[in-house]
Symmetry: C2
Subunit: 141 residues, 2 copies
DNA sequence: CTTTCTGCAAAAGGTTTGCAGTTAG
DNA sequence: CTAACTGCAAACCTTTTGCAGAAAG
């Protein structure tokens, strides 16, 4: 699991313990092809003969979001592992309405444009949530 | 209540009945300064001595969203009355993190830019959900 | 008068809280 | 060893479903 090493380093760096449950949840998020709910995580683990209490999963997902290691996708209510670094500004998602596949991306100029637009309306933007719903490359007839 | 006449016309035009509960919910949405949950709607009505079953409220809000007369704000989970016409493309929200005030707006060029960006990543966009979180004019120190 | 809509009861899901026991560092 | 974390039990809140009765057109 080299994919979760980065996240583990972040946990350690911020003084959080690197526990078995946290590694299990990170592993599930890394392998998931689409946003997963807390109960999805539990089911996936169960299929491997592993078990975590749902409360534990909720708490771990909260923590991962706090550290920007995961995001909550508002459209589906599920969680995804963050695919980008912390530096890249606001994070956006595209979710395929057919297969549920998601892709994360960031775009600085879009961000700035949005900030400016909000500014004209008297608003100081702190966070952008931006999700697109549509068809991914595979699902386009 | 001239503000809900437009919505009432839409209901009638599409063959839906203009019932007392539907008018009540529309009135609450029109007067609300921030996104309201189904139970918020119920509480607001109760303060006026009116009562609607929560199931009824859920169903009415669903219908209003279907007809684009209201939107579900993903960030807060609440509902707002649509402030724009149908023509203006995708709808966006700004929500004040302090007072909860919201403002709806639309911007064609931003839409097109987003579509293009998605297109480059192989995605055909059908719906944009875009919400900004920050401070409104009033709440900026 | 008939179709649509609402209210009620109940169930099903999802999320949160407090506390005792366990584990990582 | 000790602070942080997890599991369990229970409560709580949100959302959905089915059906009988009421209301709109």
């Amino acid at each position: 699991m080299p994919e979760i090493q980065g996240a583990i380093r972040v946990l350690r760096a911020k003084g959080y313990k690197v526990t078995q449950p946290r590694k299990q949840v990170l592993k599930v998020l890394t392998q998931a092809q689409k946003p997963v709910s807390p109960y999805d995580v539990q089911k996936i683990l169960q299929q491997r003969g592993e078990h975590l209490d749902h409360v534990t999963i909720y708490r771990i997902l909260d923590l991962l979001c706090l550290l920007n290691l995961a995001h909550k996708v508002l459209l589906s209510g599920g969680f995804v592992k963050c695919a980008l670094g912390d530096e890249e500004g606001c994070h956006r998602f595209m979710v395929c309405r057919q297969c549920g596949a998601f892709q994360e991306f960031a775009d600085k100029s879009l961000c700035e444009e949005e900030n400016e637009l909000a500014w004209h309306l008297g608003f100081r933007t702190e966070q952008h949530f931006s999700e697109f719903f549509g068809l991914c490359a595979k699902c386009q007839g």
